[in-house]
């Protein structure tokens, strides 16, 4: 088990090291992540959403659907945690 784990680890590390130079350099303004929709969000964000904090603008306006289901996910996780531990609680103080 230990040896197979080590082999998998070395393979994964080699894969990561092999692919790292393809990634954009730190602070590159031309990186692919900053090319597609984010220039529009930065340039029009304040005037379209009224939020100076562009992260808030993205979070609650451009991607509000994403945020809605993220709130649903944390609600379900919280209720799930409550349900998992509920029966013991009821048995403890009837």
């Amino acid at each position: 088990m230990k040896w197979s784990g080590l082999i998998i680890l070395v393979l994964a590390g080699g894969l990561l090291a092999y692919s790292a130079p393809d990634l954009p350099a730190y602070g590159d303004p031309e990186s692919p992540a900053s090319q597609h929709v984010s220039p529009r969000m930065i340039e029009k964000g304040y005037e379209e959403t009224g939020a100076k904090n562009l992260v808030t603008a993205v979070l609650v306006d451009y991607r509000s659907f994403d945020t809605l289901f993220e709130a649903v996910v944390i609600l379900v996780a919280g209720l799930g945690a409550a349900l998992v531990l509920w029966p013991d609680h009821r048995r403890r103080d009837p």
């Binding site: 088990m1 994964a12 990561l16 303004p29 562009l54």
Partner: protein, 121 residues
């Protein structure tokens, strides 16, 4: 060669964190330590997204009237917003996993995987 190694230092650090997380999930026999490995892996992914965000000469993504409203003047807000939700979801799912672990510990009296497997057998 040296530039290849030092120029991508953020990715190297993240790769180390990813490997630590994978090792923790794979090799540890304690369920709580496995969960900690998963959290380290999660943090490494969050750091990976965040390291794509800043730009040279770019300030933080809060609109400032004195700065020109150009894309190069601000850090990319998209990965930051995505990771803000990812952190909160991570906390919630970690809480759910901890609740499950509490349940496992009440049922089996231990969190060691080997002992649990013996009990199940």
């Amino acid at each position: 060669m040296l530039h290849d190694i030092l120029g991508w230092y953020n990715y190297w650090l993240i790769a180390v964190l990813i490997l630590v997380g994978i090792y923790g999930m794979m090799a540890k026999r304690n369920l709580l330590k496995k969960l900690m490995g998963m959290n380290i892996l999660q943090v490494s992914i969050i750091l990976f997204f965040l390291t794509l965000s800043p730009k040279e000469e770019g300030s933080m993504p809060v609109f400032d009237a004195e700065l020109a409203s150009t894309a190069a003047g601000y850090a990319n807000p998209l990965p930051q917003a995505l990771m803000l939700t990812a952190i909160v979801v991570g906390v919630a799912t970690t809480g759910l996993a901890l609740a499950l672990l509490v349940r496992v510990h009440r049922t089996f009296g231990t969190l060691e995987e080997d002992d649990i497997m013996e009990d199940l057998r």
